[in-house]
Symmetry: C6
Subunit: 256 residues, 6 copies
């Protein structure tokens, strides 16, 4: 059985996941502040429209659309123009309204999705759903309902979520969403040689074989570029990254 793939349009990234995200899937993208969540998500939307002709929708709960236009332009992505061409919609909303519209199925958001033929959706960010309730069981139910609604519309979504973990161990999930979604992508800071690098990892990907590498990536003037693994390094996700003893020996004594 073959499932259609929804490409990021980032060659090495798509290769890691056998061509792209699963069509119609909900994908959680978590990272600390500044790790590049929004950049990766915008690139997914922008490439979707420009390279694959798949209309996109960005739902944002805190940043104004202007901030998106502005930030995207840094990478040469003219979102405003795409919006004018009817291929993109950037909506500033709030979690309550968003949830309600998707539940009732007759709200503005659902209309946009259906009328524009939207294939890709960004939600920035799932963190804001936490203001709707203090009850953990209710929150999970809300998140599940919302994710099911996205799947009902058959869009491929990237759900951003803020992760408070800067450089500590990737020890616990910080919400129940990873259990609900189809894939779980982690962006992360890593300290290497007195500098901060960035790592990317697909921790979960339902119903799909994928590369489990922890890859280094850069944010260049053209967006995200995925590089190689962190060779000769252990504990990248533990918060105590260090050279492997092998690597240390080899660096000093040379290879045998």
């Amino acid at each position: 059985m073959n499932v259609a793939r929804v490409q990021f349009g980032i060659k090495d990234l798509d290769k890691m996941i056998c061509g792209g995200l699963l069509e119609g899937s909900a994908n959680l993208l978590e990272g600390a502040p500044g790790t590049g969540k929004t950049t990766l998500a915008m690139q997914f939307i922008y490439n979707g429209i420009v390279k694959y002709d798949q209309p996109g929708l960005i739902i944002t709960f805190e940043e104004f659309p202007q901030q998106y236009y502005h930030d995207a332009l840094q990478f040469g992505w003219d979102l405003k123009k795409l919006e004018d061409e009817g291929k993109l919609k950037v909506i500033f909303s709030d979690p309550y309204t968003t949830l309600d519209e998707f539940d009732r199925m007759d709200g503005e958001l659902v209309s946009i999705v259906e009328e524009m033929g939207t294939k890709r959706v960004i939600v920035d960010s799932m963190t804001h759903f936490e203001s709707l309730t203090d009850d953990q069981h209710d929150l999970r139910e809300i998140e599940r309902r919302f994710i099911n609604a996205l799947k009902r519309e058959n869009v491929t979504s990237i759900l951003l979520r803020e992760n408070n973990n800067l450089l500590g161990q990737v020890s616990q999930v910080s919400s129940k969403i990873p259990f609900i979604v189809d894939s779980y992508i982690i962006l992360r800071y890593v300290e290497v040689d007195s500098a901060i690098e960035k790592a990317l990892c697909f921790l979960k990907m339902r119903g799909s074989d994928h590369q489990k590498d922890i890859r280094c990536f850069k944010i260049t003037s053209k967006g995200i570029e995925v590089e190689s693994k962190f060779n000769g390094r252990e504990g990248i996700l533990s918060g105590f990254t260090h050279s492997t003893p092998q690597d240390a020996f080899v660096n000093v004594f040379g290879k045998k």
Copy 2:
């Protein structure tokens, strides 16, 4: 005294536990999101029906049956067909109803078990019982009652449970269920050489000698395949996996 074994139909896994799970036992299967809990459970049910002619029941509290059919098809397991043949039932329910029906012994679930001659049961997942009460002593009593009901019906059950621990130390049990069940299986992420691998371990197995190895496993297009131990590695369950010093020396200097 010999107890009958209920096989997974996964050769290396069954070998680890002397042939299979104990007939009539309740078995807890825990793991972080994406570690393969549902895949292993579906494989247990599918092989049960196809290889050992033992009817199965899947009780799910969050995923719709369609999701199960869909995910299983990735591995070539046609659950819908088995359901049509009367050898499998996938029930979407909630913890309250499920508990109540098993308590009263005259509910739909008990009927299914008894009429279909169900031998294998999956509960996905025990985590949802936590929404029934905030009192830890009550929760334990509820879990115990439910597990006793399953044993009363003489089915061999795999009880899934979400574990929030992604890559941290396996330090504390996160519920009291491990004290109640007959066996306790842990699936876990392990970082090796800048990639994420998966480990499997039978931490507890009542009344049975079993292999205590921590084994690497893969999810292939045919389901779970169990591989070798993590040779030359320490601290796999500690969250700080590293090469043993021996292994590091040998890699660099060669064996003496």
Copy 3:
């Protein structure tokens, strides 16, 4: 001054504690799920009756007597037969009743102890006393009263207690019972060479010289067998067990 010893009937274990537990003492046995608490306790009771002609009593708060008979039979111990011969009693009760009967001194349990000439008692488990009160000072007083009652009856008791710590550091006592009892026995998982082994340690033993070794043990078809220390290993109770540097060097370069 010599105190009589109450033997486990497990040679290497009895040797560790100079012949056995102290007559009339209360002994706390803690361990994570599956570490073998119940097996060790049953072996103590079974050997007590069969080898030393000392009648035994098992008080259980969660498992039914049938589970005990069944589990013990795996090791060839026929508890049902011993009960029929009047040398053993397996009582399913609850903490409130048990405490009350021992307090009033005229309950069923005290009668059994006195009429059967009971010398050995198992309580499975002290953990359930925690449901009686949320006040830590009250709980301690309850536990003390119960332990004093056991001592008043001059039985040698093994008090099981669940320990939630799977593989983390043995850092804190998880109750105040270790301060009250005469000895404190810890069973524990240890990761060695990508496998899970079991360790046993007498952390406390009042008024008695004893071996402080951390010993490896196995659960065989005949019950618990105590083996050697974990040679060449550090940090067994720290959750980060590792080869000593000495051991690592010697393994690679050989002994000088």
Copy 4:
């Protein structure tokens, strides 16, 4: 697209961030007590006026202006004189009033900003906003509103924030501000050779390529001076800084 840069006037620091902070951006500066937050912020304001002719505003919630004049004079920066010349304003206020004035857009602070042509603003410190509410969602909303108001006035701001972490791991963000601001600068103590050094790192910088080095810095009689990376050191942000094995070998055996 090129964004104008607002320089610190500290050569090596400006070089790290491609010339300076982004014009109109909000920048979070966090550090433990004594790491030099206020010194760096004053230097930004002082150089702004003296070197780049950009009027500045300092809003302080705890220190009196006199303390600022006094501390700045240690570095030869005569803030009082700049204030007399109408190029600087040091305002002692409180979070409630400050927030309210910026919201209403007709308060004293907005007047100062607009009349003086203020280009640079220091807020010392954001920590005091926490006294306005105990609700985390409300606090985030307050912080966001305040930061948006600063952006509306098109000033480049440095928002100080106290970080309670002295020498522990940089594991978690201690507020949600890092997710809202455009850049996130961390000052930090590092123990090296039985002495305390200081490190500086730009963890986040929106829409901009920047150096991710963790640099050593000193507070001299002329203010902050940024030095090199911590060569041969791992774990600077982990709280367990140590020599790399390579470095240790080389120090003892020499280079190959």
Copy 5:
């Protein structure tokens, strides 16, 4: 200025503290269950009477006097006989009464101290004062009042306190008593070569030079015997004791 010393009568221990405890001082003795707190305290009292002719008082809040007589006899110390001779009093009381009697200065305890000419007092244990109040400031005031009362009577006291820390790091004080008392003695488990040893350390000793060694000690049939330091070991109080690298090299390669 020379202060009189109150000897333990344990040669190596008295030598560590320049002859003994300070006359009239309050001394906190903390340890995990089974580390030997009571044994050391009884030895202090017994030697005080037998070797130095200083009458003693033991105030106990949980153990009955009979347990004391019994436990002491294991070491050949006949406390009952000393009590009959009027040189010792073992009082079973509770924290409320004890505190009240010392406050009013006319209770039984003060009478005993004054009539018997008591020079040494054991309180077993300070932990039980915690049941008097849930307010930490009140508790500190209570503890201070009680300790001042002991000083008013000019006795040298050893105040036992349970420490819940089994083998974890000695990181935090677990009460405010260490700030109030004159000296603070820690007994502790240490894992060495797959066995549990015991360590003793005087962390604080007011107004007195003393040895700061962490010494190994044994409980023999004659009581506590203090041995040497833990040579070639680091991190004894950190919970991760290990051989020093030096020691490891020397063990394998020999000394240069």
Copy 6:
């Protein structure tokens, strides 16, 4: 700009801070029980009077003046005599009264300061202010008000504060005072070679260049003596002090 220095009269200590504390500054001195806070503070006061003719005031909230006289005499410092000569005042008070008197500016304490020409003040300890309120924002405001009052009187103060951290990592500040004061001095236990040593470190010193060394110090019969750095040691403030690898190699193999 040169600020007058207030000397400790401890040569190596004064040298670390370029001659002494800043005149009129508030200085926080923290340490675990027994690390020597009070000794260092008394030495500051005693030397102030005897060597520099600067009258002193000691405000104590828990210890009686007699305890001070007694403890100081151990070092040959006759505080009683200095008090009789009108150069010192030791006041036993409580936080509420102390705060109130300094606020109203007409209380006994302010009179003493002004009439005696007090230049140096000790507050033992700031910890007791925590009993005034449970609200963290109020507490900070109280502490700030009190510290400002001390500065208003232009005295150089040493504010003692109890630190509960015995040997754990110096990870978090335990109050907000370090953010308010002019300097922050930490006294600390360090385990070296199976013994407890003491370390001293000036973590913060406002408006002043100072040595950031972590220095070993001893309490001798003449008071505090500051010694060298901890050479060849890493992680002194991390709670896991260890030899550097370099040091370990050199100790075994000798220098190259």
